[in-house]
Symmetry: C2
Subunit: 459 residues, 2 copies
C-alpha cells in the first residue's frame, strides 16, 4: 500500500469541471451595485478580461484547459495524494485518511491553480499588468508567481498590518518580480481617502480590494499599461480552476480502488473547498452517497451563521452584489483570530450548494484547529497552513465519530497549503495567546443592518 | 517528455551506497584531540550510539536501510526529478538540465534524509534524547522533525544571532516538539564560559557544537535522560545516508534514457553534494566519463583555497582531528556573506575525492548565486535556499560553456532545499546590501597558524 499516490503527467485532467451545469437550483445573477439590475458582461469589462468573464457566466459542464496553462501547471501538478498512515495509527480509529497535498506548488498552496490560468487569459486578452489585493499574502504571492511565468507586471496591494508583520510573503512577491505596497496606499483615491481619516490605518481586505479595482479601471486613463483586476477566490471562474484538485483526486483514489465517504475542505472564500469537492458534489447530485463538509472558523462563521443575502464583495461597496452567505461587508473578525479564512462572504456557488443540502457547513474552534495542526506535524511531518488546520480539525472530529459509531470510513481532505511562512500563528498558540471566540449574535445582526433595503435573493 | 520524473515507492533504494568501499586512496583515520592517536570506536561512544559509530567506520559497499527508516522516508521520498524546461528555454543553450527536488521534505531540504536514520539508530540503541547545534536552522529543524517521528526528545543549541533573526526556524522546531535555546546558553559550562567573557556574544557554530556535545556527554551524570549528539554533515555516516538522493536520480534518469555529463551540488560540510554525487563518483571510478562539481562560496573557500590538514570539527577543539580541506577551526566568514555554507572544513570523504581528482571544487561569487536564484524563481517557479543558489550559479556557468563549446550536455543538479524560511537573504540582495567578497590570503594563513605542530595527513 503506497503512502503517496502519483498521477503521471499525461493523466493530468485536460478540462475543468463547471458545476454550474449540474446545479439543482440555477444560480441567481450578480446585481449592479447602483441599479440593482443583473450585471451583464459589459459591466465587468473594465475590471476583468472578457475571456474570464465568459468563463464566469458559462454553464458548459467541461471547459478545456489551454495547453499553455497545462504546461505551467505541470511545474507542480499533478500533486500527490497521500495516505495519512502515521496519523491513522495515532488516532486509532476505523478510518482511512487521504490528503491531497497542494503545498507542493511554488507558492506553497492551491492558489496558483487559478493564478496561472488568470494570468494566461489576461495575457491572451492583451493585458500587460494585473492589480490585486492580498491579506496574509497567499494570493498575492501566487499571482506574482503566475505573472512572472507569463511576463506580466503584477501590482499587489497588501493589507498594511500583514505587510509589516509578514515580510516573507512580500519577499516572495519581490523575488517573482512583483511590486507590493502596503494598503491603504497613497497611490489610489480609495487609499488616500482612508489615510486622510486615519493616517495609521492598519488596512483591511476590503480597502485593499477597492485599491486594486481602482488601479485596474483607471490604469489606461492614467497612462499605465493595460491593467485588469484578479481575485483569488469567491468568483465562479476561480472555483472552476480549482476543480483540477478534485478531478486528480478522483483518478488517484480510483488507482487504489477507494471512494470517500467524507470529503473535507476549509472555506474562507470557498476556492480550495470547491476545488476538492465539486467533482464529488457532481457524483452526489447523480445519487452517490458522500458527505461533503466545508469548515470555517467560529470567529468568522459565514456559512453557519450568516444569512443568504445579496451583499457586496468588498467593504467599499464597489463590486456587484453577490447572492451569498454573508456576515455583512463591513465585518472584520475579532483580533484573537489567527487562522485566516477571514472573508465576510462565501462563494455564491458554495452558498447555493449549502441551501440545496449538498454541502454541510461546519464551524470549528480556533484552539482545536491548532491542536489538530500540531498533531498533524508530529505525525505526518508537514506543517500546515493555519487555514488548512480547520479542515484537519474536522478530520479529527469525523475519525472520532467513526469510532463511536463503529463504522469504517474513508476520508478525503484537501491539505491546501503549508504553514512555513505563517509560523507566527503557531507561536501565538504555543505562547497561550490564542483563545476560542464565538461571534456574538447581536454583532452579526448589527453588521447585516447595512443590507436593509437591498434586494433579497430567492431562498 | 515529462517535466517531473517520479519513482514509485516500491522502487525506492533499499541500501545506501558507501563510497569508502571504492575510494582509490584509503581514508586516513580521525585522531584523538589529546593524544593525536587514531580514535577507536570506544573514544566516540560517549558522543554517538555504537550502531552509528559502526556505520562511520564501515567499508561495506552497500548498507541496508532499515524498514522502519524506509517507512519514514516514504513520507516524502522518492523525491521527484525535474527537467528544468522553463530555464532551458530561457538560457537557450545546448543543455538538458535535471534537478532533484529535495525541497519537498517536511523540513524543506535534504537534511531529513540523515536526521531520520540518525534518530532511528539512537532510538534502537536506547537513547531517549538527542542534543545538536544549528546555525541558520536547517539541520535543527530536520532533527526536530525526525525526533518527533520516533518519540525522542530533541534539544537544539541555535547560534544566538540566527535564533533572534530567524524566528521561523525555531518555530518549526517547537512545532515538532523540540526545545531550542540560543547559544551561548547558561545551560552548559562551554556556554557559561563564553558568556562570562562576552555577555552579548552573538554565538557561532563552533560554540554551539561545543554546547551540544557537552550536553550529550554530561547528561547521565546530570540526571537527564540518556542523550547522544547528532551532526548534520561532514561525517561519513551522514554522507552515507544522503546517497539515497543520487541513487534515486540514477534510476529516474535511466527511465528517460539519460546520463549526466555533469553533476553539480553545493557544499558546506559536504552532505547534499555527496548525496547527489557519490553514486556517480562510483561510476567515474569504474571508468565512466562524468564531471562532478562541488560548489562553495568565494567568501568561505574551504575546498578551493583551504589546505588538506588535520583540523578540529569545532572551534573549541573538543572533537577528534579530521583529515580535510580546512580554513582553520577559528574561521568565521565575513559578515557580508548571506548564503550559508559557512563551515570551516569539508567532509573528509569529499576532501579525499578532491585530492584524487574525482571531484572538481569551484568557488562562486555571492552576487552570481542570488542572480541565479532569482532567474530560477522566475523561470522554474520555486524559490531556492541561498545555499542551493551556489549550485545553480555553476549550472548557469556550465550551460554558457556548453554553448561556447557548441557541445550538447546533460546537467544534473541537486536542488537541495527551498528558501521560503530564508527570504531575508533575498531581501538583502534586492536592497543592494550584498557585495562580492574574496577571502584575503593573509587571513587564511593566519587562521591556519593555529594548526602548526599538529600531525599532517598524507597528501
Amino acid at each position: 500500500m503506497p503512502v503517496k499516490i502519483f498521477l503521471n503527467e499525461d493523466e493530468i485532467p485536460r478540462e475543468w469541471y463547471n458545476i454550474a451545469a449540474d446545479m439543482p437550483t440555477p444560480m441567481q445573477p450578480p446585481l449592479h451595485p447602483g441599479t440593482h439590475q443583473p450585471v451583464g458582461p459589459e459591466d465587468l469589462a473594465p475590471v476583468f478580461p472578457m475571456n474570464l468573464i465568459e468563463q464566469e457566466v458559462s454553464t458548459e459542464r467541461w471547459i478545456k484547459i489551454p495547453d499553455q496553462v497545462l504546461d505551467k501547471l505541470l511545474l507542480w501538478r499533478p500533486t500527490p495524494l497521500y495516505r495519512a498512515v502515521n496519523l491513522e495509527k495515532f488516532l486509532n480509529c476505523p478510518v482511512k485518511i487521504y490528503y491531497k497535498n497542494e503545498g507542493v506548488s511554488p507558492a506553497g498552496s492551491h492558489k496558483p491553480n487559478t493564478a496561472i490560468p488568470q494570468a494566461y487569459y489576461n495575457k491572451v486578452f492583451g493585458v500587460k499588468r494585473i492589480a490585486t489585493e492580498t491579506g496574509a499574502g497567499q494570493w498575492g504571492s501566487a499571482l506574482s508567481f503566475a505573472c512572472s511565468q507569463f511576463g506580466l507586471e503584477a501590482k499587489v496591494y497588501m493589507v498594511r498590518i500583514s505587510y509589516e508583520q509578514k515580510p516573507y510573503r512580500r519577499l516572495m512577491m519581490n523575488t517573482w518580480g512583483a511590486t507590493c505596497v502596503p494598503s491603504p496606499s497613497t497611490e489610489t483615491e480609495a487609499g488616500r481617502k482612508v489615510l486622510a481619516l486615519d493616517p495609521n490605518s492598519p488596512g483591511s481586505l476590503g480597502i485593499a480590494i477597492s485599491e486594486a479595482v481602482e488601479d485596474a479601471v483607471t490604469s489606461e486613463a492614467q497612462g499605465r499599461p493595460l491593467t485588469r483586476y484578479a481575485l483569488g477566490s469567491v468568483l465562479n471562474h476561480v472555483l472552476l480552476h480549482q476543480t483540477i484538485i478534485g478531478l486528480e483526486a478522483q483518478k488517484q483514489l480510483a488507482q487504489v480502488g477507494d471512494y470517500p465517504d467524507i470529503v473535507i475542505g476549509c472555506a474562507g472564500g470557498g476556492s480550495n473547498f470547491a476545488g476538492i469537492s465539486f467533482p464529488f458534489v457532481r457524483d452526489k447530485i447523480a445519487g452517490k452517497q458522500v458527505q461533503i463538509i466545508a469548515v470555517e472558523p467560529m470567529s468568522c462563521p459565514t456559512m453557519t451563521r450568516g444569512p443568504f443575502l445579496y451583499d457586496f464583495g468588498d467593504t467599499m461597496q464597489m463590486t456587484p452584489l453577490l447572492p451569498m452567505h454573508t456576515l455583512g461587508h463591513a465585518f472584520i473578525p475579532a483580533p484573537v483570530h489567527a487562522g485566516g479564512l477571514r472573508y465576510h462572504g462565501m462563494a455564491p456557488l458554495v452558498s447555493q450548494l449549502i441551501l440545496d443540502g449538498l454541502v454541510e457547513p461546519r464551524a470549528v474552534y480556533q484552539l482545536d484547529t491548532f491542536k489538530a495542526g500540531v498533531t498533524w506535524a508530529r505525525t505526518e511531518g508537514f506543517i500546515s497552513a493555519p487555514e488548512t488546520n480547520h479542515a484537519l480539525a474536522a478530520v479529527f472530529q469525523e475519525a472520532k465519530k467513526a469510532k463511536e459509531e463503529g463504522k469504517e470510513k474513508v476520508i478525503l481532505v484537501n491539505w491546501s497549503g503549508h504553514g512555513l511562512v505563517d509560523l507566527a500563528a503557531y507561536d501565538a498558540f504555543f505562547q497561550g495567546k490564542l483563545v476560542d471566540y464565538e461571534m456574538p449574535q447581536d454583532e452579526i445582526e448589527l453588521a447585516l443592518k447595512a443590507l436593509e433595503g437591498f434586494p433579497k435573493p430567492n431562498f
